[in-house]
């Protein structure tokens, strides 16, 4: 009896070890490792939201799950990966929380980012979240930590060189996105699908001549479909991608800006960019200038 019990224990321990090993292996390709701040709660003043989060050790961050290079979670991934996620990890780690905990990451789509912040379902949003005047009426937005612009993705053998060649024609993007508005402003006709990968499909099967959204997203798809698709044209819009937080805790803005400035200066920002958007051929730019906190 005793013998079998100890054997069972040994087997159990071995199992646990091998599972832990699996976990480690999974984390290796989950992006850059960031250093988790120790005793982070002591760094913040009493009564701030950062202190509250650091003390409780719990934070929820809203990111996209369907944008390769920015925020993407495959079926077998524990945590999403991409540039947005890497920046979020830097912020999370600064609060003394391990960013490899899958419970932190919540999927936000374009439509629910403000409601999620207002209801407190997420503490931060880093989901290719363009800073706009109107959004700043209902949520706080710090940053930008990235400036991108819209380009075109067309078949590799296409003659199209810029959005001007597509005036009056249909250009695919995601329903209800800012990209669709910009396409319409340029005189083309935006048609909407549920996700960018569906648009890629429509470009490949020839229903539309091109699709358009942020260049960084398109570069990822061009890399996935090498030889079939290419990114063309000058950027015809400028989007400032920022960090969303709740207006109930305006003190977060200063903290986000400080942490981002640190990341700009010590090179972690550039590292995050290279490891996520670098492989699809986007050159690492200079860090953008942060907006002042109000």
């Amino acid at each position: 009896m005793r013998f079998t019990r100890s054997k069972a224990l040994a087997v159990g321990a071995a199992l646990a070890l091998s599972l832990a090993a699996c976990g480690d292996a999974g984390e290796d390709d989950a992006g850059e490792d960031v250093e988790v701040a120790e005793n982070a709660a002591e760094d913040f003043e009493d009564g701030t939201r950062m202190k509250e989060i650091a003390e409780s050790g719990k934070i929820s961050v809203g990111v996209k799950f369907d944008q390769p290079g920015l925020g993407f979670k495959g079926a077998t991934d524990d945590i999403p990966k991409g540039f947005d996620v890497e920046i979020a990890k830097i912020l999370v780690a600064d609060l003394g929380i391990d960013p490899n905990d899958p419970d932190i990451w919540v999927e936000t789509i374009s439509d629910n980012r403000e409601p999620f912040l207002q209801e407190g379902r997420v503490d931060l949003v880093l989901a290719s979240y363009s800073i706009t005047e109107d959004r700043r009426k209902v949520v706080g937005q710090a940053g930008p930590y990235m400036v991108t612009g819209q380009q075109l993705l067309v078949p590799a053998d296409s003659d199209i060189e810029s959005i001007d060649d597509l005036k009056g024609k249909e250009v695919c993007s995601v329903t209800g996105s800012t990209s669709i508005d910009r396409i319409n402003e340029q005189g083309a006709k935006g048609v909407g699908f549920d996700s960018y990968s569906e648009c890629v499909q429509k470009v490949l099967d020839g229903t539309v001549e091109g699709m358009s959204t942020d260049g960084s997203i398109l570069a990822g798809f061009a890399a996935q479909n090498e030889g079939q698709l290419k990114v063309v044209g000058e950027e015809f819009s400028e989007e400032n991608i920022g960090v969303g937080y709740s207006q109930d805790s305006p003190e977060m803005c200063e903290w986000i800006n400080e942490t981002l400035t640190e990341a700009f200066e010590d090179g972690t920002w550039a590292e995050a960019f290279e490891s996520t958007l670098g492989p699809s051929g986007v050159e690492t730019p200079e860090p953008p200038t942060l907006d002042e906190c109000v």
Binding site: E114, C172, G176
Partner: protein, 227 residues
């Protein structure tokens, strides 16, 4: 409310597409549904079985899957709607519109068939027997005697099916048609601070469409009851 009032052209263009989708697929689904019910109650076993199979299969398929089939699988099988290039003033009815109408019509026709079948069952058997007795062929029995009575009997369920169709057109929002829901999402994205007002404005649009249609269906029902 300003977001909607400042963009009334988008609002009406959105519901314009919704209306076009509804009218085109409404008519097509009625035609196809009538054909299906004629097959189903007809004397030819093969057609009857085929119609029953079609209804069972389509009714068990979610609408989004039907849409996805005609948007993604059909082009691979070389079923494309690129030939469709119709312009109505501000409205472009292109391949996406074509695929949406085909998806909605095929889906709704199964429900039309079943609603009409309930109407056919409501026609007393003696009517069909009498029609056959005076020498009408099956097509005559159906078009002259059974279907006119069946349509009258099945106005309420048919109206329900078509009302569901009005709302089902919203699925086209994520399949390339800039109809009402698609415009709503564009507006909520650009004017996040007025999310609720925008949502209410578009809900009212749908209520108006559905109420107008129910009113027409009610009048038709009353008209036919007296006749």
């Amino acid at each position: 409310m300003n977001a909607v009032l400042d963009n009334l052209d988008l609002y009406f263009r959105g519901f314009g597409y919704t209306l076009f989708l509804f009218l085109a697929s409404g008519v097509l689904s009625m035609v196809l549904g009538t054909l299906l019910v004629a097959f189903r109650v007809g004397p030819i076993a093969v057609l009857s079985k085929a119609a029953a199979f079609y209804v069972t299969m389509v009714r068990n398929t979610p609408l989004v899957i039907v849409f996805a089939f005609f948007s993604f699988a059909a082009p691979v099988l070389d079923i494309k709607f690129n030939w469709l290039q119709v312009r109505f003033g501000d409205f472009d009815l292109t391949a996406f519109f074509g695929a949406a109408v085909v998806s909605l019509s095929l889906y709704t026709s199964a429900f039309v068939c079943e609603a009409l079948r309930s109407g056919v069952n409501a026609v007393p058997l003696g009517q069909a027997e009498a029609a056959r007795a005076i020498g009408l062929p099956f097509s005559g029995v159906m078009t002259q005697v059974v279907l006119p009575q069946a349509f009258r009997a099945s106005v309420p369920p048919l109206a329900s099916v078509q009302i569901a169709l009005i709302k089902n057109t919203s699925v086209a929002a994520v399949f390339g048609v800039a109809e009402a829901v698609s415009q709503m999402r564009t507006l909520t994205n650009s004017f996040s601070s007025e999310r609720t007002a925008i949502f209410v404005a578009f809900a009212i649009g749908y209520i108006v469409l559905v109420e107008l249609f129910s009113f027409a269906a009610n009048r038709l029902e009353r008209h036919w009851r007296i006749a």
